[in-house]
Homo-oligomer: 243 residues x 2
DNA sequence: GAGTGGTCTAGACCACTTA
DNA sequence: AAGTGGTCTAGACCACTCC
């Protein structure tokens, strides 16, 4: 039988085989692209799309004229990759349990917001739904999410949604599809209440990810800032040179 | 006449035209991919490679069935993008002047190093060339680079190279080509001497980028940690959903 | 239905490595 | 010379948007 592969399932299958160690030889060398094309019965384009993803995730590296090799990188706790970085980290994190242990919402005016999106002008009477969520990973403090939603787009936000995935909520209940997100990664000092959540002293730092979330149509729907415990949060990237 | 376009020059030309505002209509809508293919006389593949880069850089977004649009994002000082993140920020930064204002090097043993690469085992008698470089951007403190080079690969490092681009030095003087870099972005506390350079108090934070630099052949050649002034450093990323 | 971006195939040629 | 990854072309079909 011939399974049909799309790029995502192809990528997933290769990752699975890399982890099982059933694809590479004992030196960590993978079969050539031509052999993999035949094996999976996909075109060069599709195969290389998948290999490119594997490369960005740090699983392999490729050398022109020589071949593709597994790139071991030691397991690190709470390592986020660029592709992991979801709407507000609502994505499944390899079976780990993320819980919201506290959440508040209120309506605020322009003068009350703590930060702004990158390229938006608001009128003076613009209102926002301010949401603060305190979340744990495996029952340990993991992040604080401080968001502003635009009420004329999202309407009201139910209490139930506050404790679940905002991304799914907007998609399923409101029919809103987020198309892309601009991210600004910085290091900032914690306020007292956030520091307390992480059991840190006030003025200790935090790795922050500012998100500007846009609908597919290009409209800003929310902007937020996520604070991570600086002791735990690491963002991983892989850079290939000569591009 | 027909200029031949490769993907890099194609990408650069579209960026140029976006900035000049000579490509999009008044609503920020770009010509369709088919029109751009004809205009530049390239294949769909090449054009979409270029558009994909523009998308990751935050210049445009694309909507299936509708078209491609310019995505304005406000200019921010010292915004790094993932593709900017070079060997040690040696890349040209839009004409801004980066200078090394202090540099030291010494040979150290395994027990003396402050941090380790992600997936490497060293023998107990492994030696390293430790390099510390203090660098300014437009004469203001910008970053401190703390690196360990593997002497059996790079040999000695000349004093001249310490004040220039290590990347160019390895490439031109040593014939070593860095193929890829793993990056680990974190937030850490500054030591006294680094804090002093940034004119900050000790224990103030810093955005750090840990690099593991590998030769094209997959051998580790150096590992380093770059400390940025947390008040100035912002890393930009663009995430497209439904991938 | 026409036009748009998203995906995928088949094939070609090039640059580089290895033998 | 053979094999590898890197680049590029031409063309097809699909999913979605707009009229």
């Amino acid at each position: 039988m011939h399974k049909q592969w799309d790029i995502d399932s192809l990528t997933a299958d290769i990752i699975k085989r890399i982890k099982e160690r059933t694809l590479a030889d004992k030196n960590g060398k993978l079969p050539s692209e031509r052999k993999l094309m035949d094996y999976y019965n996909v075109s060069r384009y599709s195969l290389r799309q998948a290999l490119s993803k594997l490369s960005k995730l740090g699983y392999i590296y490729q050398i022109q004229g020589r071949g593709s090799y597994i790139h071991e990188h030691r397991y690190q706790a709470n390592l986020m990759t660029q592709s992991d970085l979801g709407f507000t980290e609502d994505l499944a994190r390899e079976g780990k349990r993320i819980q919201t242990v506290g959440a508040t919402q209120r309506i605020v005016s322009l003068s009350e917001i703590d930060f702004y999106p990158s390229n938006q002008q608001f009128s003076d009477d613009q209102l926002f739904i301010e949401v603060e969520r305190f979340r744990t990973l495996e029952d340990k403090p993991y992040l604080v999410e401080h968001s502003y939603y635009l009420p004329e787009i999202v309407g009201e936000i139910s209490e139930a949604a506050m404790y679940g995935s905002m991304f799914d909520y907007l998609s399923k209940e409101k029919g809103l599809t987020v198309g892309f997100i601009d991210k600004f990664i910085r290091c900032e000092l914690l306020t007292e209440s956030y520091a307390k959540f992480f059991q840190l002293a006030t003025d200790m730092p935090s790795l922050t990810v500012r998100d500007d979330s846009y609908l597919r149509e290009g409209e800003l729907v929310a902007f937020s800032k996520i604070y991570y415990d600086y002791r735990n949060a690491t963002l991983f990237m892989h850079k290939k040179l000569l591009d």
